[in-house]
Symmetry: C2
Subunit: 153 residues, 2 copies
């Protein structure tokens, strides 16, 4: 598979994939949302090879999604914590989880549910509204070009 | 980069990425949402190599995200149309677009906006609510395990 760069494509989905679409990166961010902060814990939870994990963590720090910080307990190992930019990836990740729960569930059902930390109530489906607050369904959407498309290559 | 399978991971985000996370697949689904149906149009709009496009379309048909149908105008070329399973990928794609528009915008701004096809009003940010309808912020979320984690490898 030829690996091209999406960075210069005139599409913000492509630009998002360019920085988190590398194999494993979304799952590392997911694991960070679940509260994992240490290299060894990412490794154990995800079953990812150490060299790949090391590359991906470095890249996620470079692009400002994770911050590498001294361990709060004082060990020599750093902790990786999501920045605001990283935390906001929760929305695409939850959208992927809800789609996977519905269309590609494991035989024994989804392993994790997203909840309100305060009340414990499960999260409902992500909702679409227009800017005036009117609820929209997927069949109600259109796509408007805001400016001429730039040539890419 | 070693390419492992996410299919057996006990995580529905991983299972989603296994079937649409291949380089280009999300962008092909995005292009189908914008209304593209023909091989040549996907090729021209995305600037993707023909052999890669051919592989990805075949895979997206196999997993039930696209349906391959005779051209409605009667040409010999098939059309590729999103199934309901495919249409519902709009939510993760819009979530990635909103994240990219905010955190990785092109210098001349986002190229496309999602709108209400009926009123033309722009889409607002995707919203999180619990199942009782209470609005939640990203800082309000928790993650609850529904069953013991299965060993993967």
């Amino acid at each position: 598979m030829k690996r091209v760069s999406f960075a210069d494509m005139d599409c913000t989905i492509a630009r998002t994939l360019e920085i988190v679409g590398e194999w494993w990166s979304f799952l590392i961010v997911k694991q960070a949302l679940y509260g994992t902060t240490r290299f060894g814990d990412f490794q154990a939870e995800l079953g990812i090879a150490r060299n790949v994990l090391s590359q991906r963590l470095k890249r996620l720090v470079e692009v400002g999604i994770l911050a590498r910080e001294p361990d709060q307990q004082g060990s020599k190992y750093p902790e990786y914590r999501l920045t605001q930019k990283g935390v906001e990836l929760a929305t695409p990740l939850i959208a992927m989880m809800q789609w996977g729960d519905r269309w590609e569930p494991p035989a024994d059902g989804p392993p994790i549910e997203v909840i309100s930390a305060g009340s414990g109530a499960p999260l409902g489906p992500l909702e679409l509204h227009d800017q005036e607050g009117n609820r929209l369904g997927l069949g109600d959407l259109g796509y408007r070009r805001l400016r001429p498309k730039r040539a890419v290559r």
